[in-house]
């Protein structure tokens, strides 16, 4: 990540905002518990550097109290700013190795295909062929 990066205060604010969006539940940790405001945030902003400035501005704007209402206000009245916040939180959250382990996501890994492994749909395909009237003729 370029520049000085988020301050500790901004990271703390992000943790609190993030937990409004992604609290603990369904056997999944809250956003703050996996460190969305720490190294995951830095990785996110490395991948999406143009979001850094609007995100940090938003974090500076957030009130000390009433963060739940602030987030809901963004969602209903300021969709662009809400998009910056929510994309950051969700993007950083799913970078977490712990989160990925819990949902069974290995990442976009290579997994060679075998073209010889599938022939058992041919019966269904034969029925397509038999019932189809043929393409629309035109001269």
């Amino acid at each position: 990540m370029s520049g000085s990066g988020p301050t500790p205060a901004q990271r703390l604010t992000l943790d609190r905002l993030a937990d409004v969006l992604v609290p603990e539940g369904r056997n999944m940790p809250a956003a703050s518990a996996v460190g969305v405001s720490e190294g995951l945030l830095d990785r996110f902003l490395d991948a999406a550097p143009a979001l850094a400035e609007p995100l940090l501005s938003l974090l500076d704007e957030a009130p000390a109290e009433g963060l739940d209402a602030f987030v809901r206000h963004l969602a209903s009245q300021r969709p662009g700013d809400f998009g910056v916040l929510s994309t950051t939180v969700v993007g950083a959250y799913f970078l977490s190795a712990e989160v990925r382990r819990l949902i069974g996501y290995p990442g976009q890994q290579p997994n060679p295909l075998s073209v010889a492994s599938e022939t058992d749909y041919l019966d269904m395909l034969e029925r397509v062929y038999e019932r189809h009237p043929g393409y629309r003729e035109c001269s």
């Binding site: 369904r26 987030v71 993007g91 990925r100 976009q108 290579p110 060679p112 295909l113 492994s117 749909y121």
Partner: protein
Amino acid sequence: MAIFSKVYYFNMVTQGHQSHVLIIGAGASGSVAAARLAAAGFKVVCLEQGDWVGPGDYMSAQPEAELAWVERWNPDPNARRGLADYPLTGDADVRPVMYNGVGGGLVQWAAMWQTLLASDFRVRTLDGIADDWPIGWGDLADCYAQVARDMSVSGLGGDPALPEMDPYPNPPIPIGKIGRVAAEGMDRLGWHWWPGANAIASRRHGNLQACQRRGTCMIGCPENAKATPSLTHWPSAQAAGASLVTGARVTEIPVDEQGRVRGAAYLDRDGVEHFQPAQVVMLAANAVGTARLLLLSASPRFPDGLANSSGLVGRRLMQHPYRTVTVVCEDPLDSWQGPWGQVIYSLEFAETHPERDFVRGAKWMVMPHGGPMFAAAEYQEAHRHDGFEAVWGANFHRAADEVFGRAFTWGIQAEDLPEDDNRVTLDPTMCDSSGLPAAHVEYRVSENTRRMLDFNVARAVEAAEASGAVSTLVRDVWPTGIGHVLGTTRMGNDPQTSVVDRWCRAHDVPNLYVIDGGVFVTGGSANPTATIMANALRVTDHLIEARASQEIPV
């Protein structure tokens, strides 16, 4: 009249300056023309405003792969804001997306390979609307087969909904778990489906490696298994002598006193002006970019834009408005795995039916569902009208818990009919980084298209239920397009109602050709790349064959 002749004009070429044919745009159509012309011995120069891209530029093999969509590989140039991108302004129900670089839109495409229907060329005759093409399916048949080989397409022939074709060069990509579940639903309903054809190599072929199912097709294939012109066409084109100039932003296509184009003026990355002379110019900058260039090239002789005596340059933009039905299943489907092409498709509702309240139809295709970030975004979008609580807070984890890895998507792309008011013009105030007017796009989804999409979405929900879905996520028309931009320089026999003739030569300018998707008369519902490339090949072959009668500047 000056006569265009390979042999004759070889002696007149100034090395490094003059060219027989100048191609503007190194994407789907420009690459086909460049490779063919260079192989035939023509001196070819191609100007491309973007740069080369390849596996070293992609984020696909990184843990951050899903974040590629956010910025660097966002398909929307207004969001991506790359150096080669120009702004798109205007009030559009669907905003075009594109990639500017070597390969053009085929850098970020999903590689779905689909020919038009035979009926797509005869819409006026069959359905009494829009216009017929001046060519038919048979005029493209051989070229469809050739470009499928050049693009290492993997697929299964024999689809009864399409005219007979040569076999694809590679066996189809396995339909996998998601394709099987979807196909079983279609089978229960008695509806058409077929294994998808994709320009993705199911085995090593040509310059492509075998697909590794990484599922990052649209943000760049790090294995080089997805066909893109930098792999499939430019190596042979350059080996045969074609010159590709990147970072070249064309500003104008000037004409001589006889109204023939002389070449193109362009700016390099440093803003330095150049002029590339040519005997013939082929525009291949997509239906937005080409229309923009023609309008930018207005002159006293062509005050409304080059080749625009019909007034149709920029009009009749078509984009295949798109909706999705995501099918959520009980059992895990590992549906983050790729390829992110079409594993199966359906043409069940692609033709006009007299009992429906719309004309023409839509094509469906099944795709995987991506990683958890994509699942969350899809869930949120489908519930956007249900309020904050539906998708955030305690309900946030439902997307990962219920949707991620257990869903696939029926993509539904509608045939939008050509409408004069859906158009590309020059923005009067906004400019690109070179000071050239931005492309201003006005586009409305018609009532016919909305009815068509509503009908097809309802049928797709039925298909989902027949597949045993536990739920569906239905999205409205996507506000950003799917990279299909067509129709702004339509072909036809009548100069008053078309921009180019059946050989895609401008009616008004005898040495100017348009070879991108702008020449489509109607859009069909098929993914257009196969037709764009096949038509570019057809036109280029004709140019070569008819070179003795080609007019050029004196």
